[in-house]
């Protein structure tokens, strides 16, 4: 039973009008898209409603339906995307063109879905099938928390604000639990040191009131010794506690990092399609630190500061309740000031950060690119730009310095004024001590407690901000930890041997379930076949490989290897039989040896050397001063593109896979290197099923089969000779390349 889908709550009256209309037309309303623009591209809520038979557009300006179109009368329906807005265009069977619904990109995916829905219905697809697709589009759009209306980190993510605090704590407890003993000891130690900090002011009172006026040298010695011991113990315990806390914190953060990193390895490619790798790295490095601080604060500082505050207030009240009330006078000012300051200062920090980012982006652009700067004699301009950005930073920082320094000064001033009040009223009471009973020692000790009192006050005043920023980190971290991992449906189903027969049976795939990247693709590859995959950019070549590599498992149809659906095979076991050589080979920050042995950690030295030999890499590796021990920098700094490619081929050789995939392996190298790589590839592919994506058709000279992909479909499939005889797309591509090669040769000569 289809429920009415909508992206936003529409007033019930309007919904009722449209439902009634659909009913009158003998159908049922299926979904409503609430748009945000009118026909003149002004902000206004309008609605597009679709039933199983009709399309309706509600116009808020005229408060009526502006279009009522039977779905069957629609010839084509498209979404015309322009800049910052889009339109649904309908061509009716009568030939009439209509721009029926205008909207911003906020609802563009939904409108794409609506257009696709109608197109598919008119093509004869079933309502049930298309409704399911559309429902998933609506669900993906649910980026707003239905309870608090806040934007979620990604569609379907848990809203941390609405998540019960108990649930958040239970998630964090996993990381705190192993450290509970250490945390408890640390808390105990901190209770001891906190009590000790309360002692010196009381001893001061004894010194001032009794020992010094009584000229009791013996008692003075004892008191000083007691104070010395107190300080010694306090700082020793404090140091030890600091060490314990550091250990706890490090273990918590290490645990968190391990979990996020591990999870990041198993997240599906779809996650990385939407989340930048930089954002994931930030979560592992930055957010874990924020969370560590927060957890320690909540489990330690909150308790300690609370007891400190409580203890000080009790002591002060016991000493003199009138002066205590007086000393509490600046508290509201300090608390309010801290709140205001917290809000005021955050934008300054952000602004300074932005300016600094601008400065550092110039550094990262120009210092590594110094050759280009010099080649274009652009030193002066570069310096000028740097000075301009640095000047902006300076201006912002100086501006921020005012407010940054003003707050502590104002707070200190308020507290000092408070102490002046105590001095003036308390001092008067000391002068009249005969009637009031207040002594100098008591007053001095009271003032010490007053200054100590503001530490916990400040702490609690800023606690909410700490909580807010930690909540943002928690949200980002658990977005990864709670994310659905790559599905391994065939877990445990090992594949000992792979012959290399590959079949695609009616495979269709879409990244967004709307636009099909592959459409009903079917072909078969025999073991040992060398298959060239050709086609223009964006035709779907790499998607074919992505599906075979199981980067995406949600597709229609079947992909079989040796007659087995690849989704029913254990992921690790399956990928273990595939060798993949990319256009831009990835080198790790490690030695050349370990970079080759990445595919087989247990490989013998001679196996690695043999692999390098096969890949035509041994020669240049041996010529390096550190040979196989040469440490490669980030992304393989120190090697040319061709050398990196040959190392990546050696990696594939060492893996000894049954199926080999080359994705534009020679696209970024010169002809001589291409020849060396080609030679290596030819040695490697011998006897293995090989798929090669190539723009340069010359690299497919060994291919016994060619697949031509165009707009997600296999338009030609056969031997190179068959396709040449066919005089289709492949023939044209060959002609164009031969012509361009001849022209370059001519120019060269």
């Amino acid at each position: 039973m289809e429920i009415l889908l909508t992206n936003k709550q529409l007033n019930t009256e309007l919904t009722a009008v449209m439902e009634e209309k659909a009913k009158n037309h003998g159908g049922k309303l299926l979904f409503i898209i609430v748009g945000d623009l009118n026909a003149k591209a002004e902000y206004e809520e309008n609605a597009l409603a679709i039933s199983d038979q009709w399309l309706y557009v509600w116009n808020s300006t005229d408060k009526k339906l502006s279009y009522e179109i039977p779905i069957k009368s629609i010839k084509t329906i498209t979404v015309k995307r322009v800049y910052g807005n889009a339109l649904i265009r309908i061509e009716q069977k009568t030939g009439e063109m209509l721009d029926v619904f205008r909207f911003t990109y906020s609802v563009a995916s939904l409108c794409d879905g609506a257009a696709y829905f109608i197109t598919r219905l008119n093509e004869g697809s079933t309502l049930e099938e298309e409704y399911v697709t559309l429902k998933s589009v609506f669900e993906k759009q649910m980026l707003i928390c239905p309870r608090c209306n806040r934007t979620l980190r990604r569609a379907g993510a848990t809203c941390m604000h609405c998540e019960s605090k108990g649930k958040i704590f239970s998630k964090l407890w996993k990381y705190l639990a192993p450290q509970k003993k250490l945390l408890f000891v640390s808390l105990l130690l901190s209770a001891i040191t906190t009590s000790m900090t309360l002692l010196p002011p009381y001893i001061t009172k004894m010194l001032v009131d009794q020992i010094i006026p009584g000229k009791d040298a013996g008692a003075l010695k004892i008191v000083v010794l007691v104070l010395f011991c107190t300080y010694l113990l306090q700082y020793t315990i404090g140091g030890f506690r600091g060490y314990l806390l550091r250990v706890c914190g490090d273990r918590i953060v290490a645990g968190l990092r391990n979990d996020i990193y591990e999870k990041a390895q198993y997240l599906p490619m779809r996650f990385y399609d939407k989340t930048s790798t930089g954002a994931v790295i930030n979560r592992i490095s930055g957010d874990t630190g924020t969370l560590q601080n927060f957890m320690l604060r909540m489990t330690q500082e909150v308790i300690v500061q609370f007891f400190l505050l409580f203890g000080i207030v009790i002591i002060m009240f016991v000493m003199n309740w009138k002066l205590t009330l007086l000393s509490l006078f600046p508290v509201p000012l300090v608390v309010t000031g801290a709140r205001i300051f917290g809000k005021k200062i955050a934008p300054f920090y952000r602004r300074i950060w932005r300016r600094w980012t601008a400065v550092s982006s110039i550094l990262t652009d120009t210092i590594p690119g110094i050759r280009v700067v010099k080649a274009f004699a652009n030193e002066k301009n570069t310096v000028k730009t740097f000075e301009r950005y640095n000047g902006e930073w300076l201006k912002t920082d100086i501006k921020a310095a005012k407010i940054l320094n003003a707050y502590p000064v104002i707070v200190s001033f308020c507290i000092s004024c408070g102490s002046l009040l105590i001095w003036s009223i308390g001092g008067r009471q000391v002068i009249n001590s005969a009637t009031t009973g207040l002594t100098v020692g008591l007053l001095v000790s009271f003032l010490s407690y007053t200054s100590m009192f503001y530490g916990p006050v400040n702490f609690f005043a800023n606690l909410s901000d700490t909580y807010q920023s930690a909540l943002a980190s928690i949200e980002r971290i658990f977005d990864i930890i709670d994310a659905e991992p790559e599905r391994n449906m065939g877990q445990g189903e090992q594949m000992e041997r792979v012959e290399g027969k590959i079949e695609f049976k009616n495979v269709s795939f879409s990244f967004d379930r709307i636009k099909k990247v592959l459409k009903n693709v079917s072909f078969s590859i025999e073991p040992g076949d060398i298959v060239g995959i050709v086609g223009t950019t964006g035709s779907g070549k790499s998607t074919l490989i992505n599906l075979l590599m199981r980067y995406y498992d949600e597709y229609d149809g079947e992909i079989l290897v040796d007659g087995k659906d690849i989704r029913s095979i254990d992921m690790e076991s399956f990928r273990g039989h595939i060798g993949y050589v990319q256009q831009e080979p990835m080198m790790f920050r490690d030695t050349v040896f370990n970079n080759i042995a990445y595919s087989n950690r247990n490989a013998h030295i001679e196996e690695v050397i043999h692999a390098a030999d096969v890949a035509n890499a041994h020669g240049f590796i041996a010529r390096q001063p550190d040979a196989y021990d040469t440490l490669l920098g980030e992304r393989g700094v120190g090697l040319s593109g061709g050398e990196k490619q040959r190392i990546s081929i050696a990696r594939a050789v060492l893996k000894n896979p049954s199926i080999l995939i080359f994705d534009e392996a020679t696209a970024a190298v010169d002809s001589e290197t291409e020849h060396l790589i080609q030679e290596a590839i030819e040695r490697l592919i011998c006897g293995r099923t090989t798929l090669m994506i190539a723009h340069r058709l010359s690299t497919l000279s060994k291919a016994n089969k060619i697949l031509v992909v165009d707009e997600g479909e296999i338009i030609e499939n056969g031997t190179p000779q068959e396709l040449m005889a066919l005089k289709g797309k492949y023939y044209k591509l060959v002609q164009i390349q031969s012509m361009s090669d001849a022209m370059s040769k001519e120019r060269f000569e």
């Binding site: 015309k80 911003t104 934007t151 952000r350 980002r476």
Partner: protein, 163 residues
């Protein structure tokens, strides 16, 4: 070398065909039908270098400077561009809340009131020279503040928290 056809002054006459499409008739009698004007510099040059694309997306001609066209033609191209490019100009910021990693704005624009969220404060709010601010929301919609210093005090102080 591409032989680019430039349109200057009154060497061509424009007629509106559609919301986004125009027909062009050159003084030579040659015609371009159903071409779509698009800016080559949608952010930095609103009236200069407007290309005309045919239905296949191929460039057919370039208007060097809209201001040199005859007034009637200029209005036609201007209207088309206004329909094509929706970059609402923010006139007032009612509220800006930065919570849970997303910044939410509620603003008044020249196209009415609207609310939007920004995912990445640092990448999606850009301040250009002349105090011009460009904003991109989480749905890839664009907004512009032509000169933020001309807005009311409250709006400036809300904006200054994020730029």
């Amino acid at each position: 070398m591409v032989n680019r056809r430039y349109i200057d002054g009154d060497n061509a006459k424009f007629t509106r065909k559609d919301l986004f499409l125009v027909d062009v008739e050159f003084y030579t009698g040659e015609k371009l039908e159903n071409v779509e004007p698009r800016r080559l510099f949608p952010l930095s040059g609103l009236t200069r270098y407007i290309i005309l694309l045919d239905e296949e997306g191929e460039e057919q001609a370039v208007i060097r400077n809209l201001e040199t066209l005859i007034p009637a033609s200029r209005k036609i191209v201007d209207d088309c561009l206004r329909e094509y490019y929706l970059i609402p100009k923010i006139q007032q910021i009612y509220a800006a809340n930065d919570k849970f990693g997303a910044l939410k704005f509620h603003v008044r624009t020249d196209r009415g009131d609207c609310s939007f969220s920004i995912r990445n404060i640092h990448a999606d709010i850009k301040v250009l020279y002349g105090n011009r601010v460009l904003i991109r929301d989480s749905n890839d919609n664009r907004y512009e503040i032509p000169d933020y210093t001309t807005m009311d005090k409250e709006s400036i102080s809300l904006l200054l928290c994020y730029i």
